[in-house]
């Protein structure tokens, strides 16, 4: 059984596309679309990696990242942040809060797969 990734993103068609390519790459994929309840979802799924969008309804991805890193149960989960703004400022915030990697939309599918493999130390 493959590793599990939790995708926290609110755009249904992006969720569908990413879920599709990740599943085909051997990942077991869980998705969650709400920022407010994202932490619960992380605890419930205990994924091997997290793909986290910055702009979420209810709560920003940065806030969620901060909570993840502050919680011993989730502080080590590799996190790939997705954002629509590639500004330096955003990248700095993501780095400071402890994002493992940072990717700006639009991204290429292959890139997402490569990065996820890298940050989970997989093949």
């Amino acid at each position: 059984m493959g590793k599990q990734v939790l995708l926290i993103e609110d755009e249904p068609n992006i969720i569908e596309a990413i879920s599709f390519i990740l599943s085909r790459d051997g990942w077991s994929v869980a998705t969650h679309a709400n920022g407010e309840t994202a932490m619960d979802a992380v605890h419930r799924h205990a994924p091997d990696a997290l793909v986290l969008d910055v702009m979420l309804p209810g709560r920003s991805g940065y806030d969620i990242l901060q909570d993840l890193r502050a919680d011993p149960a989730t502080s080590d989960i590799p996190v790939l942040m997705l954002t629509a703004r590639g500004q330096k400022k955003d990248r700095e915030v993501a780095d400071r809060l402890g994002a493992t990697r940072f990717m700006t939309k639009p991204f290429s599918n292959a890139e997402v797969l490569t990065v996820l493999r890298e940050i989970t130390g997989g093949t």
Binding site: E11, I14, A17, M55, K105, P106, S108
Partner: protein, 435 residues
């Protein structure tokens, strides 16, 4: 370097600027060098023929020496000099410059102001994603759709053995997302086009309204007649060319609705009569009309200039001290950006809600000016029973020739205020380089 206030200092400055020796000048006007020295250090009064002779020798006007250049101009020049860090203009000779080249000096001041305005515009535009939430949201929408399309298209193109059900599903997603993209792109273009003819000098809706008030001198004749209503307000807003958008329109409407309600409660003629009968006492006028003191203060400032009636300025601020309404008055500078002097009775009123404050204040300058300020702070009507009170302070300002009571020294803003030892000082003055 001294701020020159006195005739003697001006004479000395002028002589030094021309590189003339004291002894030579003294001889030319027929006095002893020692006497000229006393004059130059303001230890002897000077006037009449000697002043005329000195002015002639120094190639200037006597009035220039005795009165100095317009204080507003000098303040403007100092301000301009302070904003530019790379150069070091002769700040000690600013009056000389303003006096001799008044037109050029005015140009420097006007350009300085324009630069300040434009810098704000540039700042707003260059970080537009931060300052313009609508633009940020539209772009985010575009990028989200593009992301979905790109990712979905790649799946369709690169997955060789794709299941027909999945294929259909992704094709449908593509169509959906491209429709969404074209409408959001269209909306974005419309929005950017509409933004391109904005007035560059006014960077916010509040600036637009300030310009409207300033232009009218806070007196709107269409709202002064009997039986006028909100229809007139709509027509005025329709005609006003300075309002950029809905936000500015709404702000201006709020200001005018309030004006109309003040004008209805206190019709022009009755208000004038009441003012003169009470010896300009706002409290008694308020009592007579059965209105709030703040309404009377606003109404006083709205009166058009007339015989025997001082021109009045008006400042209204909210609880944070942010100025929400301003009618400038000659000699009483209201800073366009940044905070004003905390000693203004306006702010004193904010600290003592509902307590009317009347004070004679002095604005510093070569020719310090006195003003009578009357201020009061009242809570605005609450939107709900347990809402926190929102206070608003109102101050009306009128020029005063002399005062028979204590005078409170104030300023315009710390940066251009010469009162070095002021307890309320929050930042050094650009005039604070005195010897």
């Amino acid at each position: 370097m001294p701020e020159t206030r006195l005739t003697g200092s001006r004479i000395r400055e002028r002589r030094l600027a021309l590189g003339q020796r004291q002894a030579d000048l003294a001889r030319a006007v027929g006095v002893s060098p020692a006497y000229l020295n006393l004059i130059e250090h303001n230890r002897r009064r000077i006037g009449g023929k000697l002043l005329l002779d000195l002015a002639q020798e120094l190639g200037t006007e006597a009035a220039q020496l005795s009165e100095g250049a317009g204080q507003a101009l000098v303040t403007g020049l100092r301000d301009a000099a302070d904003r530019e860090t790379g150069v070091s203009p002769e700040v000690d000779r600013v009056e000389d410059f303003a006096g001799r080249f008044t037109g050029w000096a005015e140009l420097v001041v006007a350009q300085g102001r324009r630069i300040e305005d434009l810098e704000r515009v540039v700042e707003t535009l260059s970080d537009r994603l931060t300052h313009d939430p609508h633009l940020a949201a539209s772009l985010h929408e575009v990028i989200s759709t593009v992301t979905a399309i790109r990712s979905t298209a790649a799946i369709l193109a690169e997955t060789e053995d794709i299941d027909p059900d999945w294929q259909n599903r992704f094709l449908r997603n593509m169509r959906e997302e491209s429709q969404r993209l074209s409408s959001s792109a269209e909306g974005l273009v419309t929005y950017l086009e509409a933004g391109s003819d904005r007035r560059e000098m006014q960077v916010s809706a509040a600036d637009d309204v300030a310009a409207l008030v300033e232009e009218a001198g806070y007196h709107f004749p269409p709202l002064e007649g009997a039986a006028v209503g909100e229809g007139e307000i709509s027509m005025m807003l329709e005609r006003a060319g300075t309002l950029r958008d809905r936000g500015a329109h709404d702000l201006a409407r709020r200001m005018l609705v309030r004006y109309l309600s003040d004008a209805r409660a206190m019709p022009l003629h009755a208000f004038r009569t009441s003012l003169s009968n009470t010896g300009n006492d706002p409290a008694r006028v308020a009592d007579g009309f059965g209105v709030g003191l703040d309404a009377v203060l606003r109404r006083m400032a709205s009166l058009p200039p007339a015989e025997g009636m001082p021109e009045r300025g008006l400042v209204v601020c909210d609880g944070s001290g942010t100025v929400t309404l301003r009618k400038p008055l000659e000699g009483f500078p209201l800073p366009r950006f940044g905070a004003a002097c905390p000693l203004w009775p306006l702010y004193q009123a904010l600290a003592r809600p509902a307590q009317p404050i009347e004070q004679v204040v002095e604005m510093p300058g070569a020719d310090p000016k006195l003003f009578l300020c009357r201020a009061v702070s009242v809570p605005r009507p609450a939107s709900s029973f347990d809402a926190p009170p929102v206070h608003e302070a109102t101050m009306v300002i009128e020029p005063l020739e002399e005062a028979a009571r204590p005078i409170v020294p104030i300023g315009a803003s710390c940066r251009i205020c010469p009162r070095e030892t002021c307890a309320a000082r929050r930042e050094p003055s650009i005039l604070g380089m005195r010897v």
